[in-house]
Subunit: 333 residues, 2 copies
């Protein structure tokens, strides 16, 4: 691999929507979509409308795009990449279907959730079915892929479980927060970077770099997501916002703010959180510049992600991977 | 493999509890239990009581015992058998944890369910975690095992989903019923028979026989389970019974009864089911000898299961496999 200096990323290259950003792998994302659809095709009969409804759950395609871009940047895309891209998207979809049950969410991406339309029972079983089909799909590649995806999904589920059991813990630390988001988000994006590189024939060292890239990107993406939940626009986001505070899930800005306040003030803020006064929480976050702090952390991670790409040969896929962290932290939905 | 005639099974050999029946593989079941516990050991810290509570979900060990007995009867048990036995038990446990959420059950095996103690959210995520750990555990064996267990679990989840979507369908046919139980129960027992044989080095043909054995055993077991739900004793069973009728899930005796009645009478029975009058339903089932019919079908399947063992060499494991179907249909819990 040629060692080159990463070119500066022109800001104009970072589009609002992920779709155009993923242009170099657009056809491959479509192929992964076909694998996804073919896997669920046997259920079109008995559960037609339910399976059809799942396409509303498929938004940015961040995870398959990342896996495919890593493959393209590390030597080229092969059929295993499409299968694995479909599998990681299926795992992500499974977690979304179950998340909506956990959050009692009624709307996602501007349409009603599976639980709102079919009830919690169907949602639980549909999520289970997506998990098992993702694993079976992965087994058509090889045992190594099963091990990597299995380990990542273990971390995803443990992270989600930890998040639920930490609800209402208003003493959560920054380390606790990162342990949660490393599980629920960064484990899968890390796995995407690794799989993309490995199945393109990259060395373990390069695969480790791409895994690091994926982890940093996932962390940055999640911090940005948590910021959107606090200060985003519901119409643009296409989902209910402010749910973290309602559920007393502490995210980075709130943890930072509590740490900056004197103990008496911090306890007063905890009471405000318990009382569910979102406006007062936001005012406190602005006073301690905690939103800016979280954005700084996200930017730092975005830079760290880009740095992992330095040794890759120049290619259109590498250019997109370089732009992706910037998009992840600047997006409005 | 030596072709021998199956010896008659002495009825006295069939114990009430599965524990003593599984004596020839007792040490191997314990080893599988250790693998199960070791897999969840990293969560003893953050989720200690929750992980501890799971041991109450582990009852008969039918699936690991079946896998291990098949291995022993087909050439001998190797470490892969213990890993796979733990994985199938983990998948079964995952489905039980999610089933209890679906059924809003409060008691299982005489103790409170995970959902009763920790709520539905924790139950959903714990079930997910068990699924993913089962798959990751399987990946430590090889890709073939991932494919076999993945395919079986796909069928388990699809069967469960079909059962939920068929609730309230009082025109369910016997074929529909078998499609549901083939998924929710027989797919996994079939997989246990197949894996036990394959990892003992058996030929594809012998593995197919053991898979057929597992499928017939699973069907017989489920029919017996459904009979227990209608006429069993709650204290012996250790769980709430009569739930199938409450949830308007038609099982074999009810389907048979509806088919035996004149259309007008059948519609009257459907009204009785909708009204939730369990005693009146039982009276109808007795009039049409539908409980006896279901027992006959279960016995038929038990015989079919035993017939698949005819070509196996004599061994203590084979003797137990021969006795198992009889136990499955005669048990009281």
């Amino acid at each position: 691999m040629t060692s080159t200096i990463a070119p500066p990323v022109p800001t104009s290259f970072v589009p609002r929507a992920a779709g155009s950003l993923f242009a170099p792998v657009a056809a491959d994302i479509e192929e992964a979509d076909r694998v996804f659809a073919a896997t669920l095709a046997p259920y079109q009969g008995p559960f037609g409308p339910l399976v059809q409804h799942l396409r509303h759950y498929r938004g940015k395609r961040l995870r398959p795009a990342l896996l495919l871009l890593a493959g393209k940047a590390c030597g080229g895309i092969v059929p295993a990449h499409h299968t694995l891209a479909a599998a990681v998207e299926m795992i992500h979809t499974a977690t979304l279907v179950h998340d909506d049950v956990l959050d009692e969410a009624e709307v996602r991406r501007h349409v009603s959730t599976v639980n709102a339309g079919w009830g919690n029972k169907v949602s639980i079983l549909l999520g289970d079915m997506l998990f098992t089909h993702a694993f079976h799909l992965t087994s058509t590649v090889d045992g190594r892929a099963c091990g990597i995806i299995g380990a990542a999904t273990n971390r995803v589920c443990a992270g989600e479980l930890r998040q639920v059991t930490e609800r209402g813990n208003l003493d959560l630390t920054e380390a606790d927060y990162f342990a949660v988001i490393d599980g629920k988000t960064a484990a899968l994006t890390e796995c995407c970077g690794r799989l993309g590189a490995l199945y393109a024939g990259a060395s373990e060292e390069v695969a480790e770099r791409l895994a690091n890239y994926g982890r940093a990107l996932g962390r940055a993406f999640q911090i940005a997501d948590d910021l959107l939940d606090l200060v985003g626009d519901e119409t643009t986001a296409g989902k209910t916002l402010g749910t973290d505070l309602v559920q007393q899930k502490l995210t980075l800005p709130v943890i930072h703010c509590l740490g900056r306040l004197a103990p008496v003030e911090a306890n007063r803020l905890r009471d405000v959180i318990r009382a569910g006064d979102g406006a007062a929480v936001l005012a406190a976050l602005r006073r301690t510049e905690s939103l800016a702090f979280a954005r700084f952390r996200a930017d730092e991670l975005a830079r760290a992600a880009r740095a992992e790409l330095a040794a890759l040969p120049r290619s259109d896929a590498r250019t997109v991977l370089e732009a992706l962290p910037e998009w992840a932290v600047r997006r409005e939905q």
